[in-house]
Subunit: 406 residues, 2 copies
């Protein structure tokens, strides 16, 4: 289901094509989130129009509402949400364990300290009731009912959703736990991987690919071991999950350990990096041989008034809600061909409509951010194809706009 | 600036063309609201794509934020919000007086009793400080500052906005006041009309049309008098405002009195009915010789999960948030070519995304509702052109879908 097309001569980067039930996906690719069956503020035709071929739906959220039975009855997630290109579904592990550890998302992805007991990434409070070998018992944020998710349960939900790529159910460990805890948790994830694959062999929908998940926290030995276990499994692809460290440098290191091992053991299988989507991390991830990335960042930033721009010193971001843009005639990004910039909206207007609470503003920034990331990935693909990734990555890191450098 | 194209042989209905600074508007037409400089959830290209040639911006809200100076500096409202077709601006009278009377919007438009002290139509609380011959002093809901709006002030804001049609500043009286109060208020509105026209003659932007506003509450004599006063003024067009009664029958009667008088005194001037947009009211309004209508209803209903459908018995509405649509495979409306229905979204999906709080849902319902109203107006225009309004109105009132009957 995956063909490597070209390999970079001076890095681990490669381009390829994922051949999925709902069409081909050219990689490296960014995967926008349709967590609850909609890319927030957009219609499917918008997402396709931006150039995306793969989006991510979430098993945890879709399990709780509207439920896999209903989605199945409606012909699967593609038919239900009117998206006819490919879908990858997250297994729900990350969300279930986020609840348990209390808003663990930021910590896992190296964005700061854990907020114990805090809300889950979508601002809902949830509660984990028990974690056992069999699975996880938790309370639904939708209706307060007790629910249970197991490896087999997650796979069966993903079968009902009919995604093109299913992810195995994993135990997702935060950064602050001990090496022993991480090791035990990783071993459970490996056992769960086998249970997921077994279930899928018997009951999985035809053509649905399954990705295993490499865990092991920030420990070199554990990551290598986990990579070896997943590589030796029948998983069609390999995702990298769990705690990637406290900061970016450590995250890049953990990813590098893993892809180095995968290059040795499973060079032709596709690799997905879970939950990473900062501009610099996408560039680094491609250099390290990642094929696909998913992240809430571009869409979530947009809904918070933050637009992506080629300004590395500013973290590739501009906060349009800030007063300094009140009278700015500038577009978000000069020369940008996204629906917001090409229509001529000024920072002044966007600042105003953001402050006024107009939903149109959230849509315009979402469109811009997803356009920006799509063009960035276009550039990175073209760079690998032309074997000039170092040059192109250098230019992007120096603040050249996507679409200009290639 | 207005040409009557055809007149119905058996009603007061007519078709016409408004020739405005930013293009022609075929009438009868519905005018979507861009209250704060954006049609909520949509981009300008969406609104144009639905077939609309005229939208309404609001002087009161745009005065408070971002302010006419900024909009003027940015080249006017068209350039600021990236809408190159025509704009009509409300004078702010309705909003200012809504604050004073406490959520008067519903009452003025015959939708129930006044909620004394309640929020204004946009859910903000405001406070009127004084009403005098000179103008109205009130407290801004944006920053709590004391502000003042007068006839000249309103016209100068509308000049800075650069709208194609400006409305004069009127005192907007609710239903529950005495005839004497309504009469005194109406007389003040007539004096303010003259002040607005005087200011506009000296300072108004070239080509900006000005509409006077007929007041007079639900009193036959006052409405006739007010229609005569506005008809005898230099106003380019005539809007019908103020209290239109406690219920629909009374509203139709008040409109009928007014347009009968206008047919006699100003048959060739365009007429706008302020704040009315129920499907049956649009049909009745066209029969009574109204040329343009504005209303928050189609867009606001959409944001509350309610879709317009050709079901008169259900008030032309279906509430998709209701549990009965949980597993419905039906589209909002069979055969509808709107962006939501033609993309194949089921009521089940829309129900789910509404409940899930997805902004995509609000956009899809807004698109459907504005499409529905645009096609309704297409049908009514074609019916008048073909002199078969009675037949077409009858079919629409019997529940035939717009686009099918003509």
């Amino acid at each position: 289901m995956f063909t490597v097309r070209t390999r970079s001569s001076d890095s681990r980067a490669r381009t390829g094509t994922l051949r999925l039930n709902h069409g081909d996906v050219r990689t490296p690719a960014f995967v926008p989130l349709a967590t609850k069956g909609a890319v927030k503020t957009l219609e499917p035709r918008d997402v396709a129009g931006l150039g995306y071929e793969l989006i991510l739906g979430n098993t945890f959220h879709l399990l709780l509402a509207p439920g896999p039975e209903l989605v199945g009855e409606m012909g699967g997630l593609h038919a239900f949400m009117r998206w006819d290109k490919a879908i990858i579904t997250d297994s729900g592990g990350f969300q279930v364990f986020s609840m348990g550890h209390g808003g663990v998302a930021d910590e896992i992805k190296g964005r700061g300290r854990s907020r114990a007991g805090g809300p889950d990434p979508d601002g809902r409070t949830g509660a984990i009731l028990s974690v056992a070998e069999e699975g996880v018992r938790f309370r639904s944020y939708v209706d307060g009912r007790e629910r249970f998710l197991s490896p087999e349960g997650s796979m069966s939900v993903q079968a009902a959703l009919g995604s093109d790529i299913a992810l195995v159910f994993d135990e997702c460990t935060p950064f602050h736990v001990s090496r022993e805890y991480t090791a035990r948790s990783m071993e459970r994830t490996h056992r769960w991987l086998e249970r997921c694959l077994r279930w899928h062999t018997e009951h999985g929908p035809p053509g649905q690919a399954v990705y295993g998940i490499v865990q092991g926290g920030v420990d070199w030995e554990l990551r290598r071991l986990s990579a070896a276990v997943v590589a030796s499994s029948r998983a069609d692809g390999i995702a990298i999950g769990g705690s990637l460290g406290r900061e970016k440098a450590q995250m890049h290191e953990v990813v590098s350990w893993t892809t180095a091992e995968l290059d040795r053991l499973a060079p032709d299988r596709p690799r997905h990096l879970l939950g990473i989507g900062d501009v610099d991390d996408l560039i680094a991830g491609v250099e390290l041989g990642i094929d696909t990335f998913d992240c809430a960042l571009p869409t979530r930033l947009g809904r918070h008034g933050v637009a992506l721009i080629p300004d590395p010193a500013a973290g590739w971001r501009v906060d349009l809600a800030k007063g300094r843009w009140r009278a700015s005639r500038e577009p978000i990004l000069e020369g940008c061909a996204c629906p917001a910039c090409s229509a001529g909206f000024s920072r002044s207007y966007l600042h105003y409509v953001l402050r006024a609470g107009e939903l149109t503003a959230l849509r315009l920034l979402t469109l811009h951010n997803l356009w920006f990331i799509a063009r960035l990935m276009d550039d990175l693909r073209a760079a690998v194809e032309g074997d000039r990734l170092a040059e192109v990555a250098g230019a992007l890191r120096a603040g050249v706009a996507p679409g200009v450098v290639v």
